[in-house]
Subunit: 230 residues, 2 copies
Protein backbone atom coordinates (compact mmCIF):
# COMPACT_ATOMS: atom_id res chain seq x y z
CA UNK A 1 0.00 0.00 0.00
CA UNK A 2 1.04 3.51 -0.10
CA UNK A 3 3.69 2.26 -2.43
CA UNK A 4 3.34 5.77 -3.73
CA UNK A 5 5.43 5.71 -6.78
CA UNK A 6 8.21 8.09 -6.11
CA UNK A 7 8.80 9.84 -9.42
CA UNK A 8 12.23 8.28 -9.51
CA UNK A 9 14.63 11.18 -9.45
CA UNK A 10 16.47 9.33 -12.19
CA UNK A 11 13.79 9.92 -14.79
CA UNK A 12 14.17 9.23 -18.45
CA UNK A 13 17.35 9.15 -20.44
CA UNK A 14 16.05 12.19 -22.25
CA UNK A 15 15.59 14.30 -19.13
CA UNK A 16 18.96 13.45 -17.62
CA UNK A 17 20.63 14.17 -20.94
CA UNK A 18 18.81 17.48 -21.15
CA UNK A 19 19.95 18.51 -17.66
CA UNK A 20 23.47 17.45 -18.31
CA UNK A 21 23.74 19.25 -21.62
CA UNK A 22 22.20 22.39 -20.21
CA UNK A 23 24.58 22.41 -17.30
CA UNK A 24 27.61 21.94 -19.51
CA UNK A 25 26.53 24.84 -21.67
CA UNK A 26 25.74 27.10 -18.71
CA UNK A 27 29.05 26.40 -17.01
CA UNK A 28 30.97 26.82 -20.23
CA UNK A 29 32.19 23.24 -20.30
CA UNK A 30 30.85 23.41 -23.83
CA UNK A 31 31.75 26.89 -24.89
CA UNK A 32 29.77 29.54 -26.80
CA UNK A 33 29.72 28.90 -30.53
CA UNK A 34 31.08 25.40 -30.12
CA UNK A 35 29.75 22.80 -32.50
CA UNK A 36 27.79 19.93 -31.00
CA UNK A 37 29.12 16.75 -32.50
CA UNK A 38 26.27 14.30 -32.14
CA UNK A 39 28.34 11.18 -32.42
CA UNK A 40 30.83 12.34 -29.83
CA UNK A 41 28.12 13.43 -27.39
CA UNK A 42 26.34 10.16 -27.96
CA UNK A 43 29.44 8.30 -26.85
CA UNK A 44 30.44 10.47 -23.90
CA UNK A 45 26.89 10.51 -22.54
CA UNK A 46 26.39 6.87 -23.43
CA UNK A 47 22.98 7.43 -24.99
CA UNK A 48 21.56 6.98 -28.44
CA UNK A 49 20.58 9.59 -30.96
CA UNK A 50 16.89 9.82 -30.18
CA UNK A 51 16.98 11.19 -26.62
CA UNK A 52 20.09 13.19 -27.43
CA UNK A 53 18.48 14.97 -30.33
CA UNK A 54 15.31 15.45 -28.34
CA UNK A 55 17.30 17.16 -25.60
CA UNK A 56 19.14 19.36 -28.06
CA UNK A 57 15.84 20.25 -29.67
CA UNK A 58 14.61 21.62 -26.37
CA UNK A 59 17.72 23.68 -25.91
CA UNK A 60 17.19 25.15 -29.35
CA UNK A 61 13.82 26.54 -28.36
CA UNK A 62 15.37 27.77 -25.13
CA UNK A 63 17.90 29.72 -27.15
CA UNK A 64 20.98 28.05 -25.73
CA UNK A 65 21.61 26.11 -28.94
CA UNK A 66 21.27 27.15 -32.56
CA UNK A 67 20.37 25.03 -35.51
CA UNK A 68 23.24 25.58 -37.91
CA UNK A 69 21.03 24.74 -40.86
CA UNK A 70 19.49 21.73 -42.53
CA UNK A 71 21.75 18.75 -42.29
CA UNK A 72 24.37 20.94 -40.72
CA UNK A 73 23.86 20.11 -37.09
CA UNK A 74 23.85 22.32 -34.03
CA UNK A 75 26.08 24.78 -32.23
CA UNK A 76 26.02 26.38 -28.82
CA UNK A 77 24.59 29.89 -29.09
CA UNK A 78 27.38 32.45 -29.30
CA UNK A 79 27.61 35.18 -26.70
CA UNK A 80 27.56 38.89 -27.44
CA UNK A 81 27.00 42.15 -25.68
CA UNK A 82 23.84 42.70 -27.70
CA UNK A 83 22.44 39.37 -26.61
CA UNK A 84 23.25 40.05 -22.98
CA UNK A 85 21.62 43.46 -23.19
CA UNK A 86 18.50 41.97 -24.70
CA UNK A 87 18.26 39.19 -22.17
CA UNK A 88 18.74 41.71 -19.38
CA UNK A 89 16.08 44.01 -20.75
CA UNK A 90 13.63 41.14 -21.01
CA UNK A 91 14.44 39.75 -17.60
CA UNK A 92 13.79 43.11 -16.03
CA UNK A 93 10.51 43.55 -17.86
CA UNK A 94 9.19 40.09 -17.16
CA UNK A 95 10.43 39.41 -13.66
CA UNK A 96 8.95 42.66 -12.52
CA UNK A 97 5.54 41.66 -13.83
CA UNK A 98 5.88 38.28 -12.16
CA UNK A 99 7.14 39.72 -8.88
CA UNK A 100 4.39 42.26 -8.70
CA UNK A 101 1.69 39.62 -9.14
CA UNK A 102 3.49 37.24 -6.84
CA UNK A 103 3.47 39.81 -4.05
CA UNK A 104 -0.18 40.39 -4.73
CA UNK A 105 -1.17 36.73 -4.60
CA UNK A 106 1.49 35.21 -2.37
CA UNK A 107 0.20 33.02 0.45
CA UNK A 108 1.86 31.39 3.46
CA UNK A 109 3.61 28.78 1.37
CA UNK A 110 5.06 31.53 -0.80
CA UNK A 111 6.38 33.44 2.21
CA UNK A 112 7.89 30.27 3.58
CA UNK A 113 9.61 29.56 0.28
CA UNK A 114 11.10 33.03 0.10
CA UNK A 115 12.28 32.99 3.69
CA UNK A 116 13.68 29.49 3.35
CA UNK A 117 15.70 30.05 0.18
CA UNK A 118 16.87 33.40 1.51
CA UNK A 119 18.04 31.68 4.67
CA UNK A 120 19.94 29.04 2.77
CA UNK A 121 21.63 31.68 0.66
CA UNK A 122 22.86 33.59 3.70
CA UNK A 123 23.78 30.47 5.62
CA UNK A 124 25.92 29.42 2.74
CA UNK A 125 27.72 32.70 2.78
CA UNK A 126 28.59 32.62 6.47
CA UNK A 127 29.63 28.99 6.27
CA UNK A 128 31.93 29.43 3.33
CA UNK A 129 33.25 32.94 3.54
CA UNK A 130 36.30 31.97 1.55
CA UNK A 131 34.23 30.49 -1.22
CA UNK A 132 32.06 33.48 -1.91
CA UNK A 133 33.11 33.19 -5.45
CA UNK A 134 29.89 32.84 -7.37
CA UNK A 135 31.25 29.82 -9.12
CA UNK A 136 29.86 27.27 -6.74
CA UNK A 137 27.15 24.85 -7.59
CA UNK A 138 25.46 24.85 -4.18
CA UNK A 139 25.21 28.60 -4.09
CA UNK A 140 24.07 28.58 -7.70
CA UNK A 141 21.23 26.24 -6.85
CA UNK A 142 19.99 28.33 -3.96
CA UNK A 143 20.36 31.49 -5.94
CA UNK A 144 18.10 30.11 -8.60
CA UNK A 145 15.66 28.78 -6.02
CA UNK A 146 15.55 32.22 -4.44
CA UNK A 147 14.65 33.96 -7.66
CA UNK A 148 12.14 31.27 -8.50
CA UNK A 149 10.55 31.43 -5.06
CA UNK A 150 10.09 35.19 -5.25
CA UNK A 151 8.05 35.10 -8.43
CA UNK A 152 6.54 31.68 -7.90
CA UNK A 153 3.14 32.86 -6.67
CA UNK A 154 2.28 34.99 -9.69
CA UNK A 155 -0.13 32.40 -11.09
CA UNK A 156 1.19 32.94 -14.60
CA UNK A 157 2.80 29.66 -15.64
CA UNK A 158 3.77 30.77 -19.14
CA UNK A 159 5.49 33.80 -17.72
CA UNK A 160 7.36 31.63 -15.23
CA UNK A 161 8.56 29.52 -18.13
CA UNK A 162 9.87 32.61 -19.90
CA UNK A 163 11.59 33.81 -16.75
CA UNK A 164 13.21 30.45 -16.31
CA UNK A 165 14.53 30.51 -19.85
CA UNK A 166 15.84 34.04 -19.44
CA UNK A 167 17.48 33.11 -16.17
CA UNK A 168 19.39 30.38 -17.97
CA UNK A 169 20.40 32.68 -20.78
CA UNK A 170 21.80 35.31 -18.44
CA UNK A 171 23.20 32.75 -16.04
CA UNK A 172 25.60 31.57 -18.70
CA UNK A 173 27.13 35.01 -18.91
CA UNK A 174 27.52 35.29 -15.16
CA UNK A 175 29.06 31.85 -14.77
CA UNK A 176 31.44 32.37 -17.64
CA UNK A 177 32.55 35.93 -17.08
CA UNK A 178 31.96 36.95 -13.48
CA UNK A 179 35.28 35.46 -12.49
CA UNK A 180 36.96 38.45 -14.05
CA UNK A 181 35.02 40.98 -12.02
CA UNK A 182 36.96 43.69 -10.24
CA UNK A 183 34.39 45.72 -8.35
CA UNK A 184 33.37 43.96 -5.13
CA UNK A 185 29.68 43.70 -4.42
CA UNK A 186 27.46 42.67 -1.57
CA UNK A 187 24.98 40.48 -3.39
CA UNK A 188 23.73 39.17 -0.09
CA UNK A 189 22.29 42.48 1.04
CA UNK A 190 20.73 43.05 -2.35
CA UNK A 191 18.92 39.76 -2.00
CA UNK A 192 17.75 40.36 1.53
CA UNK A 193 16.53 43.83 0.64
CA UNK A 194 14.44 42.40 -2.19
CA UNK A 195 13.09 39.62 0.03
CA UNK A 196 12.23 42.03 2.80
CA UNK A 197 10.36 44.38 0.49
CA UNK A 198 8.49 41.46 -1.05
CA UNK A 199 7.48 40.00 2.31
CA UNK A 200 6.33 43.46 3.41
CA UNK A 201 4.14 43.45 0.31
CA UNK A 202 5.89 46.56 -0.89
CA UNK A 203 5.61 45.72 -4.56
CA UNK A 204 6.91 48.98 -5.88
CA UNK A 205 10.11 48.86 -3.86
CA UNK A 206 10.68 45.16 -4.45
CA UNK A 207 10.34 45.59 -8.19
CA UNK A 208 12.68 48.54 -8.28
CA UNK A 209 15.30 46.66 -6.28
CA UNK A 210 14.90 43.63 -8.50
CA UNK A 211 15.45 45.69 -11.62
CA UNK A 212 18.55 47.24 -10.12
CA UNK A 213 19.81 43.83 -9.06
CA UNK A 214 19.46 42.41 -12.54
CA UNK A 215 20.85 45.51 -14.18
CA UNK A 216 23.87 45.67 -11.90
CA UNK A 217 24.91 42.13 -12.67
CA UNK A 218 24.62 42.79 -16.37
CA UNK A 219 26.59 46.00 -16.15
CA UNK A 220 29.42 44.27 -14.35
CA UNK A 221 29.54 41.51 -16.93
CA UNK A 222 29.44 43.96 -19.81
CA UNK A 223 32.39 45.78 -18.28
CA UNK A 224 34.56 42.70 -18.49
CA UNK A 225 33.28 41.17 -21.71
CA UNK A 226 36.11 40.58 -24.17
CA UNK A 227 36.22 43.50 -26.56
CA UNK A 228 35.66 41.39 -29.62
CA UNK A 229 32.21 40.57 -28.26
CA UNK A 230 31.12 44.19 -28.04
Amino acid sequence: MAQTKIPAESGTVFSTTLSRLRKEILTGAIGPGEKLRLDQLRITYDVSFSPLREAISRLVSEGLVLQAGDQRGFQVAPVSADNLREVTLLRKSLEVIALQRSIQHGDDAWETGVVSSMHHLSKFKSRNPAKMDNIDEVWENWHRKFHTALIGACRLPVLLQFCDTLYDLSDRYRRNFIQFRHVPRDVQSEHSAIAEAALNRNAELACRLMEEHIELTATMILAVLPTELR
Copy 2:
Protein backbone atom coordinates in the same frame (compact mmCIF):
# COMPACT_ATOMS: atom_id res chain seq x y z
CA MET B 1 12.41 39.60 -42.15
CA ALA B 2 12.65 38.20 -38.70
CA GLN B 3 12.32 34.59 -39.61
CA THR B 4 12.89 33.26 -36.15
CA LYS B 5 11.26 29.89 -36.05
CA ILE B 6 11.10 27.73 -39.11
CA PRO B 7 14.57 26.73 -40.31
CA ALA B 8 13.63 25.74 -43.84
CA GLU B 9 10.07 25.19 -44.89
CA SER B 10 10.95 22.50 -47.41
CA GLY B 11 13.85 20.87 -45.69
CA THR B 12 13.86 18.03 -43.30
CA VAL B 13 11.24 15.55 -42.27
CA PHE B 14 11.47 17.05 -38.84
CA SER B 15 10.60 20.58 -39.93
CA THR B 16 7.68 19.55 -42.10
CA THR B 17 6.35 17.36 -39.33
CA LEU B 18 6.70 20.25 -36.90
CA SER B 19 4.78 22.60 -39.16
CA ARG B 20 2.10 20.06 -39.81
CA LEU B 21 1.61 19.19 -36.17
CA ARG B 22 1.54 22.83 -35.15
CA LYS B 23 -1.03 23.65 -37.74
CA GLU B 24 -3.27 20.76 -36.74
CA ILE B 25 -3.15 21.90 -33.14
CA LEU B 26 -3.77 25.55 -33.99
CA THR B 27 -6.72 24.77 -36.20
CA GLY B 28 -8.16 22.36 -33.70
CA ALA B 29 -7.82 19.35 -35.99
CA ILE B 30 -6.19 17.89 -32.92
CA GLY B 31 -8.24 19.28 -30.12
CA PRO B 32 -7.24 20.74 -26.75
CA GLY B 33 -6.41 18.06 -24.20
CA GLU B 34 -6.28 15.36 -26.83
CA LYS B 35 -3.71 12.66 -26.37
CA LEU B 36 -1.01 12.39 -29.00
CA ARG B 37 -0.71 8.75 -29.95
CA LEU B 38 2.78 8.43 -31.31
CA ASP B 39 2.21 5.29 -33.27
CA GLN B 40 -0.88 6.66 -34.95
CA LEU B 41 0.79 9.96 -35.82
CA ARG B 42 3.79 8.07 -37.09
CA ILE B 43 1.57 6.22 -39.52
CA THR B 44 -0.63 9.11 -40.67
CA TYR B 45 2.38 11.38 -41.20
CA ASP B 46 4.42 8.54 -42.63
CA VAL B 47 7.49 9.34 -40.58
CA SER B 48 9.46 7.50 -37.96
CA PHE B 49 9.67 8.18 -34.25
CA SER B 50 12.80 10.29 -34.20
CA PRO B 51 11.66 13.34 -36.16
CA LEU B 52 8.15 12.99 -34.76
CA ARG B 53 9.32 13.10 -31.18
CA GLU B 54 11.71 15.91 -31.99
CA ALA B 55 8.84 17.94 -33.38
CA ILE B 56 6.64 17.23 -30.39
CA SER B 57 9.49 18.19 -28.12
CA ARG B 58 9.59 21.62 -29.69
CA LEU B 59 5.88 22.07 -29.26
CA VAL B 60 6.27 21.20 -25.60
CA SER B 61 8.61 24.11 -25.04
CA GLU B 62 6.26 26.28 -27.03
CA GLY B 63 3.47 25.40 -24.63
CA LEU B 64 1.15 23.88 -27.22
CA VAL B 65 1.82 20.35 -25.98
CA LEU B 66 2.23 19.01 -22.47
CA GLN B 67 4.33 16.11 -21.33
CA ALA B 68 1.85 13.91 -19.50
CA GLY B 69 4.63 12.40 -17.40
CA ASP B 70 7.46 9.96 -17.69
CA GLN B 71 6.54 7.14 -20.01
CA ARG B 72 3.07 8.57 -20.27
CA GLY B 73 3.34 10.40 -23.54
CA PHE B 74 2.03 13.77 -24.61
CA GLN B 75 -1.20 15.67 -24.85
CA VAL B 76 -2.30 18.85 -26.53
CA ALA B 77 -2.37 21.67 -23.99
CA PRO B 78 -5.88 22.20 -22.67
CA VAL B 79 -7.56 25.58 -23.09
CA SER B 80 -8.89 27.70 -20.28
CA ALA B 81 -9.94 31.25 -19.60
CA ASP B 82 -7.01 31.67 -17.24
CA ASN B 83 -4.55 30.59 -19.88
CA LEU B 84 -6.08 32.92 -22.46
CA ARG B 85 -5.94 35.80 -19.99
CA GLU B 86 -2.30 35.11 -19.26
CA VAL B 87 -1.33 34.81 -22.89
CA THR B 88 -3.16 38.03 -23.63
CA LEU B 89 -1.48 39.86 -20.79
CA LEU B 90 1.92 38.70 -21.96
CA ARG B 91 1.25 39.46 -25.60
CA LYS B 92 0.29 43.00 -24.71
CA SER B 93 3.34 43.51 -22.54
CA LEU B 94 5.81 42.05 -24.99
CA GLU B 95 4.46 43.19 -28.33
CA VAL B 96 4.35 46.72 -27.07
CA ILE B 97 8.02 46.59 -26.16
CA ALA B 98 8.83 45.12 -29.55
CA LEU B 99 6.65 47.58 -31.44
CA GLN B 100 8.11 50.55 -29.66
CA ARG B 101 11.67 49.54 -30.52
CA SER B 102 10.66 48.55 -34.02
CA ILE B 103 9.27 52.00 -34.67
CA GLN B 104 12.45 53.46 -33.26
CA HIS B 105 14.79 51.39 -35.42
CA GLY B 106 12.67 50.60 -38.47
CA ASP B 107 14.33 51.28 -41.82
CA ASP B 108 13.06 51.29 -45.39
CA ALA B 109 12.81 47.54 -45.55
CA TRP B 110 10.69 47.56 -42.42
CA GLU B 111 8.32 50.18 -43.83
CA THR B 112 8.04 48.18 -47.03
CA GLY B 113 7.22 45.04 -45.10
CA VAL B 114 4.50 46.73 -43.09
CA VAL B 115 2.94 48.39 -46.14
CA SER B 116 3.14 45.20 -48.14
CA SER B 117 1.53 42.90 -45.61
CA MET B 118 -1.06 45.54 -44.82
CA HIS B 119 -1.86 45.79 -48.50
CA HIS B 120 -2.25 42.05 -48.85
CA LEU B 121 -4.56 41.94 -45.86
CA SER B 122 -6.87 44.60 -47.30
CA LYS B 123 -6.70 43.21 -50.81
CA PHE B 124 -7.78 39.89 -49.48
CA LYS B 125 -10.76 41.48 -47.83
CA SER B 126 -12.00 43.24 -50.94
CA ARG B 127 -11.42 40.17 -53.06
CA ASN B 128 -13.33 37.83 -50.84
CA PRO B 129 -15.97 39.90 -49.16
CA ALA B 130 -18.08 36.84 -48.58
CA LYS B 131 -15.28 34.98 -46.94
CA MET B 132 -14.47 37.53 -44.27
CA ASP B 133 -14.78 34.77 -41.81
CA ASN B 134 -11.45 34.68 -40.06
CA ILE B 135 -11.18 30.99 -40.65
CA ASP B 136 -9.23 31.21 -43.85
CA GLU B 137 -5.67 30.10 -44.25
CA VAL B 138 -4.64 32.80 -46.69
CA TRP B 139 -5.93 35.55 -44.48
CA GLU B 140 -4.37 33.83 -41.47
CA ASN B 141 -0.99 33.85 -43.14
CA TRP B 142 -1.10 37.52 -43.99
CA HIS B 143 -2.41 38.38 -40.59
CA ARG B 144 0.54 36.71 -39.00
CA LYS B 145 2.92 38.32 -41.46
CA PHE B 146 1.43 41.69 -40.65
CA HIS B 147 1.99 41.33 -36.93
CA THR B 148 5.46 39.95 -37.53
CA ALA B 149 6.35 42.76 -39.90
CA LEU B 150 5.30 45.45 -37.46
CA ILE B 151 7.60 44.30 -34.69
CA GLY B 152 10.28 42.84 -36.95
CA ALA B 153 12.71 45.75 -36.73
CA CYS B 154 13.06 45.78 -32.96
CA ARG B 155 16.47 44.10 -33.05
CA LEU B 156 15.55 41.84 -30.16
CA PRO B 157 15.55 38.30 -31.55
CA VAL B 158 14.73 36.59 -28.27
CA LEU B 159 11.75 38.85 -27.81
CA LEU B 160 10.58 38.09 -31.34
CA GLN B 161 10.75 34.42 -30.50
CA PHE B 162 8.57 34.96 -27.44
CA CYS B 163 6.09 36.99 -29.44
CA ASP B 164 5.91 34.30 -32.05
CA THR B 165 5.19 31.68 -29.41
CA LEU B 166 2.54 33.84 -27.79
CA TYR B 167 0.96 34.52 -31.15
CA ASP B 168 0.57 30.79 -31.66
CA LEU B 169 -0.85 30.28 -28.21
CA SER B 170 -3.52 32.94 -28.66
CA ASP B 171 -4.09 32.07 -32.30
CA ARG B 172 -5.41 28.69 -31.26
CA TYR B 173 -8.15 30.34 -29.24
CA ARG B 174 -9.13 32.63 -32.08
CA ARG B 175 -9.20 29.88 -34.66
CA ASN B 176 -11.18 27.56 -32.45
CA PHE B 177 -13.69 29.92 -30.91
CA ILE B 178 -14.06 33.02 -33.02
CA GLN B 179 -16.60 31.28 -35.19
CA PHE B 180 -19.10 31.71 -32.40
CA ARG B 181 -18.65 35.47 -32.19
CA HIS B 182 -21.72 37.63 -32.25
CA VAL B 183 -20.47 41.21 -32.15
CA PRO B 184 -19.31 42.35 -35.60
CA ARG B 185 -15.97 44.04 -35.79
CA ASP B 186 -13.94 45.91 -38.34
CA VAL B 187 -10.56 44.30 -37.86
CA GLN B 188 -9.37 45.86 -41.06
CA SER B 189 -9.55 49.41 -39.76
CA GLU B 190 -7.90 48.40 -36.53
CA HIS B 191 -4.99 47.04 -38.51
CA SER B 192 -4.65 50.04 -40.78
CA ALA B 193 -4.81 52.39 -37.81
CA ILE B 194 -1.96 50.54 -36.15
CA ALA B 195 0.06 50.48 -39.36
CA GLU B 196 -0.51 54.16 -39.98
CA ALA B 197 0.58 55.15 -36.48
CA ALA B 198 3.65 52.95 -36.76
CA LEU B 199 4.68 54.35 -40.13
CA ASN B 200 4.18 57.86 -38.75
CA ARG B 201 6.60 56.87 -36.01
CA ASN B 202 3.95 57.63 -33.45
CA ALA B 203 5.04 54.94 -31.03
CA GLU B 204 2.73 55.89 -28.22
CA LEU B 205 -0.38 55.74 -30.34
CA ALA B 206 0.66 52.61 -32.17
CA CYS B 207 1.32 50.79 -28.92
CA ARG B 208 -1.96 51.85 -27.41
CA LEU B 209 -3.87 50.71 -30.49
CA MET B 210 -1.98 47.43 -30.50
CA GLU B 211 -2.87 46.77 -26.89
CA GLU B 212 -6.51 47.50 -27.59
CA HIS B 213 -6.42 45.28 -30.64
CA ILE B 214 -5.06 42.34 -28.70
CA GLU B 215 -7.33 42.94 -25.75
CA LEU B 216 -10.45 43.23 -27.87
CA THR B 217 -9.85 39.90 -29.55
CA ALA B 218 -9.34 38.24 -26.19
CA THR B 219 -12.44 39.81 -24.72
CA MET B 220 -14.56 38.57 -27.58
CA ILE B 221 -13.21 35.07 -27.24
CA LEU B 222 -13.69 35.05 -23.48
CA ALA B 223 -17.29 36.06 -24.02
CA VAL B 224 -18.01 32.96 -26.03
CA LEU B 225 -15.78 30.46 -24.21
CA PRO B 226 -17.78 27.45 -23.05
CA THR B 227 -18.69 27.99 -19.43
CA GLU B 228 -16.92 24.90 -18.22
CA LEU B 229 -13.66 26.53 -19.31
CA ARG B 230 -14.15 29.60 -17.14
